[in-house]
Symmetry: C2
Subunit: 141 residues, 2 copies
DNA sequence: CTTGACCTTCCAGTCAATGGAACCCCCATG
DNA sequence: CATGGGGGTTCCATTGACTGGAAGGTCAAG
């Protein structure tokens, strides 16, 4: 298989696959003409990486996971640890984004969004503490 | 005010402030010795940017927002549009992350996490469709 | 023999900083 | 006057995970 086929099957752009070779996630052989020759194992590794990336694992974590994958005697606890770390990161990120979302939607609710120039969004960004500004506008202390 | 004071007041590292000057978010004057001399307006802009960044606005959006801030006659609708765009992006990101979280926590629930080598996390990453693998394990699909 | 779709390498750019080297400035102390 | 320390300055490289593009080699079809 050459890179185009692998790209199609794995859903990864050819550029990305070359990059993954660069950083050692996969090491395809080469044909006489210099083209990359991907075996099934290469394909599997790339599919693995594509899925792990889609779950938000970093490249470094992919390296780890692949090493664990290669190691037939690894303990599932090792894998679980990597996954748990990642789960915690994802949950923290969700919490961050939810805080942003709440602040932003509050600001949008308070903004008339018409032709007038006064806008609580800019006022808040430019002015005082975010929550204080919001409280003041609501008159709630 | 010189950069250290501004850094302390705005909470932004001095490095970042220099970077923000580089990309034109702020344009402090210079003292005779070449040191940056920040006026109140510079300070305000930096605080503004720090807050907008904390809400996940990109640097480009910060540029836009600052332009709107400078424009006394802007319509609040313009600001609202930028904020709405950002809100949509944040919501999409949350949805993505929630899907990741759900998949990962399902995988972790199914993984014994002990010394045995068999691990549904790696099986799933390496094997078939994520949902199919999970269904199969649960015997529900 | 040419066309066009592949493939190759290498270099640059993205975003938003961050790290570090090498050097300048200014004040206080001895 | 030297020295030390804690500011500041510039410039270059690096991060993470790619992505874009140029310049050129390879191969099958017409």
């Amino acid at each position: 298989m050459q890179i185009g086929d692998v790209a199609e099957q794995s859903g990864l752009p050819a550029k990305t696959i070359r990059y993954y070779e660069d950083i050692g996630l996969v090491t395809p052989k080469r044909d006489a003409n210099g083209y990359r020759a991907f075996r099934d194992t290469d394909m599997h590794r790339l599919t693995f990486v594509a899925r792990a990336r889609a779950l938000g694992f970093t490249i470094k974590q992919c390296h780890n996971l692949l090493a664990l994958w290669d190691d037939k005697s690894r303990a599932s606890a090792d894998v679980r640890a990597v996954a748990g770390e990642q789960l915690a990161r994802i949950e923290a990120k969700i919490a961050d984004l939810e805080a942003m979302r709440d602040t932003l939607s509050r600001l949008m609710r308070d903004c008339s969004g018409d032709a007038r120039p006064d806008c609580p969004i800019l006022e808040t960004l430019g002015g005082e503490d975010l929550d204080a500004a919001s409280r003041r506008r609501k008159g709630a202390g």
